[in-house]
C-alpha cells in the first residue's frame, strides 16, 4: 500500500461518517473504499468493546470482572457481523436488492466506524468522571449508537438501491433471518451430534464384540 492509498484508507471512513449516501454510492460502484477495512473494523470493534469492559471507569462499569473474557468478545463480534451480513444478503437477494455479499460486508464495516470510535472516546472519558457526570458518557454512547444505526440504514438503502420504507423493512427482516440462522445452526449441531453418537456407539459395540 503506497502512501496515497494509505491516506485514502484512513480518510475514507471519516468521509463515510459525514456523507454516508455519497460514500456508500462510491463503495457500491467500487470507486472508493477497501475490502481490507472489514478486518480492521471487526478488530477495532472488538478492541473497543473489550477495552470498555476492562477499562471503563468504576463509576460506569457494570461488568463483572470475574466473567470478563475478551476472546469471547471477539467471537461475539465476528458472529454478529457475519450473521448480519448473511442475514441481510439472504433477505435482500429475495427482495431485488442490488448489493453483493462483499459489498454489504464492506458497507457494514464502514457503518460501524462511529460506534467504535465513540466507544474509545467514552471509555477514556469514563475514567475521569464522577457520578454526576455519567450523563456525558451515556450521551456519547447514545449518539454514536444512533449514528451507527443511521449509517447502517444508509448503507442498506444505498447498496441495494432501496426506498426508505423498503430499507427499514429489510433491516427488520434481516434480524428475523439472523434468528432463523441461529436456530438452524443449533438444529444442525444437535442432529450432527446424534449422528456422531450413533457412529460412536457402533464403533464401541464393535470393539466390545471383536
Amino acid at each position: 500500500m503506497n502512501m496515497a492509498a494509505f491516506k485514502e484508507f484512513i480518510k475514507f471512513p471519516f468521509y463515510v461518517m459525514v456523507r454516508p449516501f455519497t460514500a456508500f454510492e462510491d463503495i457500491k460502484y467500487g470507486e472508493r473504499g477497501s475490502k481490507k477495512y472489514i478486518i480492521v473494523s471487526i478488530l477495532l470493534m472488538w478492541v473497543a468493546i473489550a477495552f470498555n469492559t476492562q477499562y471503563a471507569g468504576i463509576v460506569v462499569n457494570e461488568n463483572n470482572p470475574m466473567t470478563m473474557n475478551s476472546i469471547s468478545d471477539l467471537y461475539g463480534v465476528i458472529a454478529v457481523f457475519v450473521l448480519w451480513c448473511v442475514g441481510n444478503w439472504s433477505i435482500t437477494s429475495l427482495m431485488d436488492g442490488e448489493g453483493k455479499l462483499i459489498q454489504i460486508a464492506t458497507a457494514t464495516s464502514y457503518a460501524l466506524t462511529p460506534f467504535f470510535l465513540g466507544y474509545f472516546v467514552a471509555t477514556l472519558l469514563s475514567r475521569f468522571i464522577t457520578t454526576q457526570e455519567v450523563a456525558f458518557y451515556t450521551m456519547i454512547i447514545t449518539i454514536v449508537t444512533i449514528w451507527a444505526a443511521f449509517l447502517l440504514f444508509a448503507a442498506v438503502a444505498t447498496i441495494h438501491n432501496f426506498s426508505f420504507v423498503k430499507a427499514l423493512a429489510t433491516i427488520f427482516f434481516s434480524f428475523v433471518s439472523m434468528i432463523i440462522i441461529i436456530f438452524l445452526i443449533m438444529l444442525i449441531g444437535a442432529l450432527l451430534q446424534q449422528v456422531f453418537f450413533f457412529f460412536e456407539n457402533v464403533y464401541k459395540e464393535l470393539t466390545y464384540r471383536i
Binding site: I58, V59, E62, N64, M66, F128, T130, T131
Partner: protein, 528 residues
C-alpha cells in the same frame, strides 16, 4: 535493632491473640463456615472469619425437667432464660449454667397459675415478652385464645381476651402467637392467620387497633390476567392479601422490629415507628435484607453441601445495641446480623447434627451479661466482648448459646463506636478488622470516609474503591481531580505559554533574519 521491632511486635501480637479467651474457643472445631457477601454490583459470597461460635447447648434433659416438646420462643431477662415449652404447656426458667430458677413455679418450671382462685394451665402457649423494668411477663396462651400478664413470680395480673370490635373479622379466630411490649405497656401482638397487621392493646388491656399493616402489591401483569380470567378462575387464583409478620421485637427507643415472609422482592424486615410506618434504612442498592442473597451461598463458593437450596425464611428478629439487629433463618439455620444502615455484618450458624448446629432454629435472644467485658486492647483502644446470642431449636428442643470471637467482638465494638459518633476510634478498629478479614467491605468504606473527611483524597479513593462505594468514591475523586488541577494548572499554563512564546518568538526571529538577508541581498544586487 530498628528492623527487628516490627516482626517482634507482630510476634508479640500473635502470642496475645493465641492466648485470648475468645480466640481459644475458636480453636475448637466449629461445624459451620464463616462467609459473608461483598458489595460489588454482582452478588458474590466471600469467605469470612467466624464471628460467633457455639459455646453451650442446654436442653430439657440437661436441666432435669424432661425433654422439651417443640418449644417456640426464648426470652432472656437479666441472667434468666425463659423457654416457652409449647408442646408440654409449660415455661422453663434457667440460666446459662443450666441452673433452674428456684423461686418461680415448681422449681423453675411453670405449669400452673392461680386464676380467680382456681388453678389454671397454659394450652400450647407460644410467644413470651419480658419488657425491661416493668416486672411483668406477657405470655401468648395461643390455644386458650388469650394473652396472660404475670408479674415476675408468675402471679396473674390480667388477661387479654379476644377483643369485641367491629374492626375484627368474624372468621378470624384470635390465636395470639408472638408479642412485644413497649415502655408504655402497649402490647403489639401477632395473631395467627391475621394479615391485617399487628394487634395493639393498651396498658389497661383494652383493644387499641391494628398496627403496621403490610402493603399489598398488585402488578400490572396480575391485573391484566384478572381481566382475561373468568369468575371461576379468579376465585381459584390466589387472592391479593398482605403477607403475615413472623415475629416482632422492640428496641430500647420503642421502635418495633418485624420480620415477614414477603413473597415479593424487597426488605423482609420492617422497623415500625409509633405511627406504624416503616423506617428501615438500607443504603445498599440491590442488597435487600432477606437473609441469604444467593440461594445457596456456601455450596456455590466453598464446595460444601451444607445449605438447602432455598430462600431464607426469617423466623425471628432481635434488636441489639447500637441499632444492630439479628434475624434467624429457620430454613438454613443461619443467623444474619445487620447494622442500622442495612449493612450485613456477619453470618453464623447452620443446619446439621453436630454440636452447635440446628434442625429448625425458631427463636433467638440476646444474653447481655458480658457486654462490658473488655477482651482486647489495641493501642489503648478497648474491644468489648459484645453480647452473646441464644438460639432456640424447635426440633432438637434445645438452646444454643453463641459467643463472639475476637473478630465478632471487634465488629460489635466498631459498630457501637460508630453509632456513638466516635468515628475516629471506629476507624482504628476497621483497620484491625481488615488485618483479620480483608473481605470486610464496611471497613474499607469506613476508613475511606474518614480519610475523605481528613482531606486525604487520594487514599480515600483507594479505600472507597476497594469497598465499592461508588457515591463516595466519586466525591473523593472529584476533590482529588480539583486538587491535581489546582496544583498543576500554574505549571501547565506557564509551560504552554512558554512553548507558544518560543514558537512565535522563533518564527518572528527567523522572519526578521530572512528580511534582513533579503534586504542585504537586494542591497548587494542594487550595489552591483
Amino acid at each position: 535493632m530498628k528492623k527487628y521491632i516490627k516482626p517482634l511486635i507482630s510476634l508479640l501480637l500473635a502470642a496475645v491473640f493465641a492466648f485470648m479467651p475468645a480466640m481459644e474457643a475458636s480453636a475448637r472445631k466449629v461445624p459451620y463456615r464463616g462467609y459473608s457477601y461483598d458489595n460489588m454490583r454482582f452478588v458474590n459470597a466471600v469467605p469470612a472469619r467466624l464471628s460467633y461460635i457455639p459455646a453451650t447447648v442446654i436442653d430439657g434433659v440437661d436441666l432435669g425437667v424432661g425433654s422439651w416438646s417443640s418449644p417456640q420462643d426464648v426470652q432472656v431477662y437479666e441472667e434468666w432464660i425463659y423457654v416457652s415449652d409449647t408442646g408440654n404447656n409449660r415455661i422453663v426458667v434457667f440460666n446459662r449454667y443450666g441452673e433452674l430458677k428456684e423461686d418461680v413455679g415448681d422449681n423453675g418450671v411453670v405449669t400452673t397459675f392461680i386464676n380467680n382462685g382456681e388453678i389454671d394451665t397454659f394450652n400450647a402457649q407460644d410467644g413470651l415478652c419480658i419488657p425491661r423494668g416493668m416486672n411483668r411477663i406477657y405470655v401468648c396462651d395461643t390455644e386458650n385464645r388469650r394473652i396472660l400478664v404475670f408479674d415476675m413470680e408468675f402471679n396473674l395480673l390480667g388477661i387479654v381476651d379476644e377483643p369485641d370490635s367491629d374492626m375484627l373479622m368474624d372468621y378470624n379466630i384470635f390465636r395470639p402467637v408472638k408479642i412485644t411490649v413497649d415502655n408504655g405497656g402497649r402490647m403489639y401482638v401477632r395473631v395467627r392467620n391475621m394479615f391485617q397487621g399487628l394487634l395493639c392493646f393498651n396498658d389497661d388491656l383494652t383493644f387499641n387497633g391494628y398496627f403496621g399493616q403490610l402493603p399489598v402489591r398488585v402488578s400490572a401483569w396480575d391485573l391484566l390476567w384478572r381481566r382475561i380470567y373468568t369468575r371461576e378462575q379468579i376465585e381459584k387464583n390466589r387472592s391479593f392479601i398482605p403477607t403475615e409478620f413472623t415475629n416482632v421485637d422492640i428496641d430500647e427507643h420503642g421502635f418495633i422490629y418485624c420480620t415477614n415472609i414477603d413473597v415479593y422482592d424487597g426488605d423482609r424486615v420492617k422497623i415500625l415507628n409509633p405511627f406504624g410506618t416503616n423506617i428501615l434504612k438500607n443504603y445498599n442498592e440491590n442488597r435487600n435484607i432477606v437473609g441469604d442473597l444467593l440461594l445457596d451461598a456456601i455450596a456455590q463458593n466453598f464446595m460444601s453441601d451444607m445449605g438447602a437450596n432455598t430462600r431464607s425464611r426469617l423466623e425471628d428478629i432481635k434488636a441489639r445495641p447500637a441499632g444492630m439487629y439479628t434475624v434467624v433463618d429457620s430454613r438454613k439455620g443461619r443467623l444474619f446480623t445487620y447494622d442500622g444502615e442495612g449493612n450485613l455484618l456477619y453470618i453464623f450458624g447452620g443446619n446439621g447434627s453436630q454440636f452447635g448446629m440446628f434442625r429448625k432454629a425458631t427463636a433467638l435472644d440476646i444474653l447481655k451479661e458480658n457486654f462490658d467485658e473488655i477482651v482486647y486492647n489495641i493501642d489503648g483502644l478497648d474491644i468489648y466482648r459484645g453480647d452473646d446470642v441464644i438460639v432456640l431449636d424447635e426440633l432438637r428442643a434445645n438452646v444454643t448459646i453463641f459467643e463472639p470471637t475476637l473478630y465478632g467482638a471487634m465488629i460489635n465494638t466498631a459498630i457501637s463506636l460508630r453509632y456513638d459518633g466516635d468515628e475516629g476510634h471506629a476507624v482504628e478498629i476497621w483497620r484491625e478488622i481488615l488485618r483479620l478479614d480483608n473481605n470486610f467491605m464496611m471497613a474499607y468504606v469506613g476508613i475511606g470516609k474518614s480519610l475523605l473527611a481528613e482531606g486525604e483524597n487520594r487514599d480515600a479513593m483507594l479505600y472507597l474503591r476497594a469497598g465499592n462505594d461508588i457515591k463516595y468514591y466519586s466525591v473523593a475523586y472529584r476533590r482529588y481531580r480539583t486538587e491535581v488541577m489546582n496544583n498543576s494548572m500554574p505549571v501547565v499554563m506557564t509551560g504552554l505559554f512558554i512553548v507558544i512564546g518560543l514558537y512565535y518568538g522563533t518564527k518572528l526571529t527567523l522572519w526578521i533574519l530572512r528580511k534582513q538577508r533579503e534586504r542585504r541581498v537586494e542591497h548587494e544586487h542594487g550595489g552591483v
